[in-house]
Symmetry: C2
Subunit: 253 residues, 2 copies
DNA sequence: CTGTGACCTTGATCGAGGTCAAGTAATGAC
DNA sequence: GTCATTACTTGACCTCGATCAAGGTCACAG
């Protein structure tokens, strides 16, 4: 299997500077930094998880950091009584884990089939200490994630249900567009990678409200739906108008 | 004035590892790192702002990074229609600004009289490049802030108004206790450093709801109020029970 | 084809928190 | 003293989204 996965590594060369995801990042990509390549190669390995499986539980000991190779994972917290809030969406090339901490702070769950590229933590940390460049990139990524988290705080604290849904769809549409590089397509189309419940956990809503608002956006012609998951956006500006964000479009999340 | 401020610098030696503030941090403190002291000394200067004044507006060019010496500042975002969400509370020794970005992402407002210690950005960045240790501390601080932001996402997305207020009061109480080092005092007392409106902006509520919930907590004996701002907490565990957080108390924010 | 379960939609109702409005308290200017 | 202002409280009402409940659709197993 390792061999099979290695063939997918060219993905790692595609390191999008995705400004659109809730958790923006740039991958820590071995292949793109010749100097560190061999050292990283020595301490890395791959793991795969089927959709629905939990990668780590909050509080578990975590002896690795990792980067998403393919698939989608979520980061979430759960209160004693079961209320849960998703705090991050991990897409290919996003980073998992935290140098300097041994226990996972959040549940990491694979929402689709998932392959991650792991680095054993101690060696990674010492490599980081020897190679300031890696630490700097990690800082940059972390600052981007912090900005994204704060943008999400605005969404959670102040937006209406309709604005929340529109924002999430806009974000997914942008990430999809930036990954698939069809920049000139006026019409965006993609599958929602999350269930209604996962969207609800992300947006601080209930799944019923998510369903109702998606229906409302469809009835108003803001989005088109085929089946339950496939979304087409006939007019992206129109969608942006529903998000409540600044309309200059320059820096939406 | 510069001289007067320099006399307050011993504050910088008190670098609490405050795990309780929404935006946790450790100061980048010149005094505590002999090696970098002189280089930092060369590029630093102080600024002070009266309560209510805006330090920087979102989108403004920012040619410095800074550390709070005394007073309290807030970090917030505002939507076109005026809805605002606070995304950070900056207390003494917290860090302001972001190496690698020229424009401020958020409004920074002094809520009390404020003194900050600034470092010109370009020299700070090049010092960072030469001194990996600084970058590492910055990474650590940023990761702490990220955790705090995510904890706040749970609050914003899933907690009730009463839980939100209780959480905020608990956080302020802990920070106050950790700053004032009266660990054995069972009874905590302090002044709320924020107006009802600022609390509302922080918690994603309206100021009326904040007022009502504070009244409710007072009537239920969870907190005592003298005047509008001075709070006494007769039973901290009781307050924690109102926050909705895990009751082990180990890692509240 | 029929059951079963996951996922989603829709309806009816309820309530937490928002909105609007009036009023209080403390402060400070004149 | 009066007036104005800022910060806060309280009440009445309403709305948005949660809750509870039922039903639909689809994929898949037997």
């Amino acid at each position: 299997m390792t061999t099979a996965v290695k063939h997918s590594l060219p993905d790692h060369h595609h390191v999008p500077d995705c400004r659109d995801c809730p958790i923006r990042h740039r991958a820590v990509c071995a292949r793109c930094e010749a100097d560190e390549l061999e050292q990283l190669e020595e301490i890395k390995y791959y793991r795969s998880y089927p959709a629905g499986q939990t990668v780590v539980w909050a509080g578990d000991r975590m002896d690795f950091v990792a980067s998403v190779v393919s698939g989608i994972a979520t980061l979430s917290q759960t209160m004693e009584d079961g209320r849960t809030q998703m705090v991050g969406l991990l897409l290919p090339s996003d980073f998992i884990g935290r140098p300097g901490r041994d226990d996972a702070a959040y549940d990491v769950v694979a929402t689709t089939d998932l392959i991650i590229c792991c680095f054993r933590k101690r060696p990674f940390e010492s490599l980081m200490a020897r190679t300031p460049h890696i630490g700097q990139r990690l800082l940059e990524m972390t600052l981007d994630e912090l900005d994204a988290a704060r943008e999400w705080m605005l969404l959670l604290g102040r937006k209406t249900a309709r604005e929340k849904i529109a924002s999430l769809i806009a974000i997914i549409a942008r990430r999809d567009a930036s990954l698939n590089l069809k920049a000139n397509d006026k019409i965006m189309a993609f599958d929602l990678p999350l269930t209604r419940e996962a969207m609800a956990d992300y947006l601080g809503l209930t799944l019923e409200t998510v369903s109702r608002q998606i229906t409302a956006l469809r009835k108003d012609g803001v989005i088109l739906l085929e089946g339950k998951r496939h979304v087409t956006i006939p007019d992206f500006e129109r969608l942006l108008g529903e998000t409540g964000d600044d309309s200059d479009g320059g820096y939406l999340i």
